[in-house]
Amino acid sequence: MSTSIQVKNLSKTYEYFKKEAGLTGSLKSLFWREKLYNEALKGISFKIDEGELIGFLGPNGAGKTTTLKILSGILYPTSGEAVVLGYVPWKRSPEYQRQFSIVMGQKNQLWWDLPAQESFQLNKEIYEIDTKTYRNNLDELIELFEIKDILDIPVRKLSMGQRMKCELSAALLHSPRVLFLDEPTIGLDIISQEKIRHYISEYNKIKKTTVLLTSHYMRDVERLCGRVIVINNGIIVYDGSVQDLMNTYGKHKIIRLRLSKEYTENGLAKYGEILERDGLCVVLKTGKEDIAASTARILNELPVEDLSVEEIEIEEVIKKIFTG
């Protein structure tokens, strides 16, 4: 199994200017501004083999997008090395560009007013795909992503889920060996999210394309990836199998309750660990396996006005990784 992506001690620091509030602040800024630094990446290292489907997980601002941008050549690192498919990404050589693809959720690469079909045609020319290969790939992708009926509709008329399917297809026309996905399911409804995850997983299985996917949804990673890299504040805090991560930290769910009557801590304790209590609002943590039973018990035995079940926050998991 050959190495697809190799990253060593990658660091990236951004400069930005601090602006003071108010009118005097604005006037001052005409002449002099204080320069501040934001260390987005602090020396991260990892290795990814060909054909792996890796999840890159972390809260907002953790450094995920920065990493992807560096690996796709959009950004230069401040220090450190990165090699993808034997190329240094920020040299942006056309040979490298023809072998990878990046899709950024919410940023359209398709032409807005024309049907997706036209944008595909354009990609064929840009990536110099020969007609036979193009036809084969296109047919494959149409079938896999189930986009046969929407190819002729202007992109702006498609729903977000349909658009994402087309974006992904467009990105895969040239059979890239590496696929970078930045928050591909963001903004989509639950069903579309599931579908997109399914397509990506299938594609990776069939084509053995290396896929690096970023997300701040635990579920994305849970369903898709064998291995996950967790990043927080520019540092990698976990690099290992999803299974292990789930077993250790992902075993819980959060239940938010609004009761009609106040209850004591003791009275609530048997339903789960109390995370917050504010008057009639209570937040509990319980095990995932018996969530149905727990919820049923709570609804039966407590005077519940409102109840919702949530995923454990990624921040929780990360906090745990630091402390636990």
Binding site: G22, L23, G25, S26, S29, L30
Partner: protein
């Protein structure tokens, strides 16, 4: 009243972000004046003259015209059009703020800021092009000039606001605005001093309010108008007329907005 003063300040903060603009202003204006100077010099050196303008008067005319473009001409209609088209206008309907005065304040604060920038830019340019420019002969001329500029800002705002109001009825308002812009610039004397025009065009321009945006203030500055009071009177009438039209359009427009739900 206080909310308008705050608005004034916030708008200044917004505009001050553009520190780069100041450099571009000075640089750009200087170059433009340079080009025009060459153009008119070439013409005058052949023993020709343009109307009853001396070379320096003509150059000054264009320098002033350029500045007036930024200081007098109102551009708020672009924001108004966007407001209405994307529905943001609804926010104004639910708040206790008058739409007309909101934009009046925003416009005025913007123009005063521009004015300050321009005074700096002009100061620098005037030093460079010292020998080639005309300055007001009397202090009275300067005062009248300033008054005409302020009145011009008001008139331009009102007309611009009216154009913005048309968005309630016309979808292709931007295209309309482009075409109108050219006509306005033409008859304001922004492209060529109005007294150079052939007679029939001069008569048309006298009839329209646009001459008060460029030609009138600049002529005062150049000392070509000894008694501006009759013109001031007509200018004030135009200001009142357009205020009335603005108010009527705003009222009707709101009714239509609420009915159609643009």
């Amino acid at each position: 009243m206080k909310k308008y003063i705050t608005l004034f300040h916030i708008n200044w903060q917004n505009s001050l972000q553009y520190r780069f603009s100041l450099i571009v202003y000075i640089f750009g204006y200087s170059l433009y004046i340079g080009v025009l100077l060459y153009l008119w010099s070439a013409i005058y050196s052949e023993g020709q003259s343009v109307g009853n303008y001396t070379l320096s008067e003509l150059t000054t005319y264009y320098l002033l015209q350029l500045m007036i473009n930024s200081v007098i001409f109102s551009y708020v209609s672009w924001d108004v059009i966007e407001n209405i088209k994307d529905g943001y206008f609804s926010n104004f309907l639910i708040k206790p703020i008058d739409y007309y005065f909101y934009w009046f304040t925003v416009n005025l604060s913007g123009k005063i800021l521009e004015g300050l920038f321009i005074i700096i830019a002009v100061g620098i340019i005037s030093i460079f092009f010292r020998g080639h420019l005309t300055f007001p002969g009397t202090s009275a001329a300067l005062i009248y000039f300033l008054i005409s500029v302020i009145l011009g800002i008001v008139l331009s705002f009102e007309m611009d606001f009216c154009v913005g109001m048309i968005t309630f009825w016309l979808t292709q308002v931007r295209t309309f605005k482009f075409m109108l812009q050219t006509i306005i610039l033409f008859f304001a004397g922004a492209m060529l001093p109005l007294d150079l025009f052939p007679d029939f065009l001069v008569r048309i321009s006298d009839f329209l309010p646009f001459r008060y945006l460029v030609y009138f203030p600049v002529s005062i500055y150049l000392g070509k108008i000894n008694n501006p009071w009759p013109s001031f009177a007509i200018l004030i009438v135009w200001i009142l007329v357009f205020y009335g039209i603005s108010r009527v359009l705003l009222l009707r427009g709101i009714k239509r907005y609420e009915a159609v739900g643009i």
